[in-house]
Amino acid sequence: MSEQRVPVRRTAKLFIGGEFPRSESGRSYEVHAHDGRLLAWAARASRKDLRDAVRAARTAQGEWGARTASNRGQILYRVAELMEGRRRQFEEELADTGAADPARGVSASIDRWVWYAGWADKVHQVLGATNPVAGPYFNFTIPEPTGVVGIVAPQDQALLGLVSRLAPAIVSGNAVVVLASENAPLPAVTLTEVVATSDVPGGVINVLTGFTRELVPWLAGHMDVNAIDISGVPEDMRADVEVQSAENVKRVVRANGDDVFSPAAQSPYLVTALMEFKTVWHPKGA
């Protein structure tokens, strides 16, 4: 009986505003395993999809950023909890990308969520400050989320590479638009299905699949994106992204190129790289 059963295949969709649309353009593209097998027809996001995703991120960011840090930490931890329950699917998808040790990649990805979950209510304590100014003033500096962040996910390490850029971006209260790895988008798609059931408010994480070279200029030129992570932008396009980013003075960040499994690939400075430091002065006196 079981041998005759035909498995149901998953449609790989975009993830925008907490929903799973196909591309409004009706386009899709073939996703192959490392051995050439056809795995899926992924949605090929259009400029309109990207703009919709930015709008969804902007809409969601205010409420997400206003949540308590502790609450955001618990939600990131919840993502880790649910990833653990789906680890077999992630492992299969990583195996399809040709990953040498899929189980290791999934474990490291889950642990990375847990690690950043812990930073939610600590980054202010480690990297904020009270400043002993020379006068009767109480003066303090607090980091705040920068707003909407575009993340061009690393093209290799389709899961851990993405999580390593995504978790530090959202933990502080930013909302993001992710361009998934072009050739290996399926772990990112599965991650959206985890995110959708993890108490992460719709719109905080938006994930587009499609052609990187097509989408990057629209993301880099979008005036309502505050920062862009160019980790997955091809070398020859990076200077152009920086030129485009000048128009609204986007912050441009990138992965440091270290092995994504190494401790150097996780840091509270990756959190504050996508935050603004605000300093407040207040007089003291009876």
Partner: protein, 498 residues
């Protein structure tokens, strides 16, 4: 002060309760009590070698809830050995990331079983269910969650210092916030790689024993957390045990001093979180209705069984009369009674012994010439109860202005200038907390700078958060619990200056 006395003579009017409330009892069915509890040593509940047990009663009914083992010298020895073995075999060398995940499990289990814990906490300790449900349990779970996150980030808290754990922590906690104090003690100790022998208070051991079950369910390596129940003698055995590296005590200043002396010369690390006699200072520009709520919360939260309670109200003279009037009105609406009733504001006094202490100090207040005000309210026939109480015409030399009452009793004094408020607020050997109520931000900061207190609340009171350090100045103890600063007491450091 003549003006105040006149006011007292003119206005003895009766203040009737505004509303009557139907009872809204929380069911205790969720709690599954065992008749008898052993000691939690090496990951298992074991019979005490001492062979003795004591009863833990419900202070609201005086009915026994369960029998609890009393740990003697042999038992404490076994617990410390289990903790030592667990430290060396499992916990010390477990990567922080993995330690973190065990602590996260405890946090989650406390969230999942929060109602059960809250009901048991109210049954065993007498605190209103709305407080155990809305304050103690959420904070306890959050504390584990917060410190879980530190377990693999210690090098960021102490850059260039290579932190490492001390070993076995002996921890003794009080009866006023049993599960929350257990969380405050256990969470940072585990996060920093230490193992624990915890001694809960003799009148409130049951939620700690339920926590032991949670620790089992979370599959922590056996011996990482050990819980030994008993009275002061057991606590003394824990803190003086030669193989305990670090002692953390929360309780009275009197016992804190005894522990300090007992540990002299041993090289053990020590933190003390002791008594308090906090000033809650209301300036004439304060939003009065908000201040009234803060003053009421400051002294009547948890029946006043709070080391940082705002037990001395300092009021600027121009607002003394309106504030007193509002306080008396508010007092009349406080509901005293069944801790499991969801409407109850003031539950049972924790023990007969504590009730007697409160009664004795209140009698001294009357005898020394302060004026007492208590609202009309009927108290249950059985159990330990005390009416919310205000004292006016209090002078700084009165015992009720100097000694920690640890009950629902507020002493009210007045002041004229900010400098006088500072003088009076700091005129105590204690220094745990202070409250400032004013609309003027600059004055808040000016006052905060001058308060000899480890925590200053401005236009709020009795706020707690796992990320916020807590602890005392002066005879309220030393060391901080909570926040980044709560890690340091559990760590040694390699490197310069250590």
């Amino acid at each position: 002060m003549a003006k105040i006395e006149r006011r007292e003579r003119e206005a003895p009017e009766r203040r009737e309760p505004v509303w009557e409330y139907a009872t809204a009892p929380e069911s205790s069915d969720i709690v599954r009590l065992e008749g008898r509890y052993g000691l939690f040593i090496g990951g298992e509940f074991v019979e005490p070698k001492s062979g003795t047990y004591f009863e833990s009663i419900n202070p609201a009914t005086e009915e026994p809830l369960a029998e609890v083992a009393e740990a003697g010298p042999e038992d404490v020895d076994l617990a410390v050995n289990a903790a030592r073995e667990a430290h060396e075999k499992h916990w010390r060398d477990l990567p922080g990331t993995e330690r973190a995940k065990f602590i996260f499990r405890i946090a989650r289990a406390l969230q999942e079983r929060a109602r059960e814990f809250a009901v048991l906490e109210s049954m065993d300790g007498g605190k209103p269910i709305k407080e155990s449900r809305d304050v103690d349990l959420p904070l306890a779970a959050a504390h584990f969650f917060y410190y879980a996150g530190w377990a693999d980030k210690l090098e960021y808290a102490f850059p260039n210092r290579r932190p490492h754990p001390l070993g076995v922590a002996g921890q003794v906690i009080p009866w006023n916030f049993p599960i929350l104090m257990a969380a405050w003690k256990i969470a940072p100790a585990l996060a920093t790689g230490n193992t624990v022998v915890l001694k809960p208070a003799e009148t409130t051991p049951l939620t700690a024993l339920l926590l032991a079950q949670v620790v089992q369910d979370a599959e922590l390596p056996p011996g990482v957390v050990n819980i030994v129940t008993g009275a002061g003698e057991t606590g003394s055995l824990v803190v003086t045990h030669p193989d305990v590296n670090k002692v953390a005590f929360t309780g009275s200043t009197e016992v804190g001093k005894v522990i300090r002396r007992a540990l002299a010369g041993t090289g053990k690390r020590l933190t003390l979180e002791l008594g308090g006699k906090a000033a809650n200072i209301v300036f004439d520009d304060a939003p009065l209705d908000q201040a009234v709520e803060g003053v009421i919360n400051g002294i009547f939260f948890n029946q006043g069984h709070v080391c940082c309670a705002g037990s001395r109200l300092l009021v600027q003279e121009p607002v003394f009369e309106p504030l007193l009037d509002k306080l008396k009105d508010r007092l009349q609406t406080l509901r005293v009674g069944d801790p499991l009733d969801k409407n109850t504001d003031i539950g049972a006094i924790n023990s007969r012994q504590q009730l007697q202490k409160i009664e004795e100090l209140v009698a001294s207040g009357v005898q020394e010439g302060a004026e007492m005000y208590q609202p009309e309210c009927t108290l249950p026939e059985r159990g330990f109860w005390f009416r919310p109480t205000l004292f006016t015409n209090v002078s700084q030399s009165h015992r009720i202005a100097r000694e920690e009452i640890f009950g629902p009793v507020l002493s009210i004094l007045t002041f004229r200038t900010p400098a006088e408020a500072v003088e009076k607020a700091n005129n105590t050997p204690y220094g745990l907390s202070a409250g400032v109520w004013t609309d003027k931000g600059s004055r808040i900061l000016w006052m905060a700078e001058r308060m000899e207190a480890g925590v200053v609340w401005a236009n709020t009171f009795n706020r707690f958060d796992p990320s916020s350090p807590f602890g005392g100045y002066k005879e309220s103890g030393f060391g901080r619990e909570g926040g980044l600063h709560g890690l340091e007491p559990y760590l040694d450091f390699d490197g310069a200056g250590e």
